[in-house]
Symmetry: C2
Subunit: 151 residues, 2 copies
């Protein structure tokens, strides 16, 4: 995980560079994203934002999230198939990296392996696609859920 404060400053700089307005709500949300470890969803970010801005709208969260997605500064993790819920987000590290998703409690942690350049070349060669990005997710049972057994 990157240093959250450093990541926060980086995001602020990038927004400034594009002349986006640094509203308090936006700054707070960006801080939440930069510091977040647990891959929160939009509703979770909204909840935390409400502590600081009781009148915030969920739409505002989505708007900022989309803004950052377009800038390539937030990674969206879709887990619709898992709990019927919405996407989760990683604003600390937007580069493609593997995730471990617990199918029981929906905890998401970062994986440390990365695809080899060899695999990427193989895939591009076989398919003819020009690969821009990728996604590697593992589904399983997290350590906590394993000790609990079936509940």
């Amino acid at each position: 995980m990157r240093d959250p404060e450093q990541r926060f400053q980086e995001l602020m700089a990038k927004l400034r560079a594009r002349a986006y307005r640094l509203t308090p709500q936006r700054v707070a949300l960006i801080r939440l994203l930069a510091y977040s470890e647990g891959h929160p969803d939009a509703a979770e970010l909204y909840r935390r934002l409400l502590d600081q801005f009781p009148t915030t709208s969920l739409a505002t969260v989505y708007k900022t999230l989309n803004l950052l997605k377009e800038m390539g500064e937030v990674l969206e993790i879709e887990i619709n198939g898992i709990g019927g819920e919405g996407s989760r987000f990683d604003g600390n590290d937007p580069a493609p990296h593997p995730h471990l998703i617990c199918v029981r409690c929906h905890r998401i942690m970062d994986g440390q392996v990365s695809l080899t350049e060899e695999i990427l070349q193989t895939v591009q060669g076989q398919s003819g696609y020009r690969v821009i990005s990728h996604r590697l997710d593992f589904y399983g049972i997290c350590p906590e859920c394993q000790v609990q057994g079936v509940n």
Copy 2:
């Protein structure tokens, strides 16, 4: 790609084994899935089913799709982040395998590489997760869209 007819028979046998009723709509949908190459979505399957059964309901498609998902006989590919559309399905090969998703025309083709056992072991060891399944998708531009250039 597996032999479609063989796959169709396999699915029929598995439904019979679980004593699910082989209604004409269900059989037709299963045939569509077994023979499908292009990773259709629910609406596409629905459209094709309408040719044979003009009164079919989209809900029926989803019900059968969910049935097969629970049986582990259909692979769901979520691309919500791409075009705002829904999931796509592979009923010909439900085992986890990589996909190449064109971010321009949304074509999906199968990738041929597979994750090494070494990577799987590494991920499990590092995380403590018991990995059940995985997902590996590549996003890029398909050959057709490359020659067209930017449209």
